[in-house]
Subunit: 148 residues, 2 copies
DNA sequence: ACTGATCGTCAGTACTACTGACGATCAGGC
DNA sequence: GCCTGATCGTCAGTAGTACTGACGATCAGT
């Protein structure tokens, strides 16, 4: 138990509340990342999918969705856009024709490489105000919290 | 600079990416908080407004909105609900009749006190996996990142 | 009094992600 | 070899959130 204040409002500054801080940190990083990726024709959401595919391809749509923590119905529209842009391809999995094999195209790999650079710059800008040590600590703490 | 890998995909694990971690930490905390506040008839978004009002009331709608970092048009609907529930009141500011003075009702203060307890429990549950030290560090780091 | 800005409100829009349902397909029991 | 139940991708519909643009009422400065 921490110190008990007589005024309940003593802890009411929104900027002290974890929920506020987490939400606005997310918003800020997303805005920076989207701006950095915009010249490549993708956003941070698309980049998430590309990252999964570059890491473990080929994969089914469901595998990608689960890795990202989004619904499989959400993945459909996301891949529709990437397919229309020539960044990924879908074809039926020969070993299980319920599934689609999702793969980066040659152009998709180039886009991903460029996106990684852009994303790195955005993340660095976001983290500029804190030390590399604090960054590692932050990443570690968040990973623990998310994985419970 | 960290070690440079020949495979760009080496850093592609989504669980290492800050954007993913921040987003999912936010989602998890929000879910916990909403669940804890649900018996009181409010959610984490409402609680944010209550916190501002309890901290610095009376205030205009715009002041509350800006403190929370949301649009003033969004605040309208939010306060509509809280007013209908008897938690806050709106009346024209005598000194500037463009503004509404927003204030917690007696019932609103009781709701807020109960909400603070519930919120504290949810936040503690969220933070259970890390040390108090890491919690302080996390709060400090996020504050720096958000305030830039 | 006039001009420009501010506040609250509302309609309309955009985005995101979900639920529920469907057809096609697979796996296991018999 | 069929059934039965489950899985995958798809789509329509829905809900939540927050925005833009516009409006009337009001204020401040000239």
């Amino acid at each position: 138990m921490g110190p008990v204040s007589t005024e309940p409002s003593a802890t009411a500054d929104p900027h002290e509340v974890l929920g506020y801080l987490l939400k606005h940190a997310t918003l800020k990083l997303t805005a920076l990342t989207d701006a950095a990726l915009e010249p490549l024709g993708i956003d941070s959401k698309d980049f998430g999918a590309l990252r999964v595919l570059a890491h473990r391809e080929p994969a089914s749509q469901l595998q990608v969705a689960q890795t990202l923590g989004i619904d499989r119905t959400t993945m459909v529209a996301l891949l529709d856009v990437l397919e229309r842009k020539g960044i990924i391809t879908r074809r039926p999995d020969p070993t299980d024709r319920r599934r689609n094999v999702v793969q980066l195209t040659e152009q998709g790999m180039q886009t991903f490489d460029a996106a990684q650079v852009a994303h790195g710059r955005a993340e660095s800008a976001f983290l500029a105000a804190i030390s590399p040590n604090a960054t590692d600590q932050l990443r570690q703490t968040l990973r623990t919290l998310v994985e419970n």
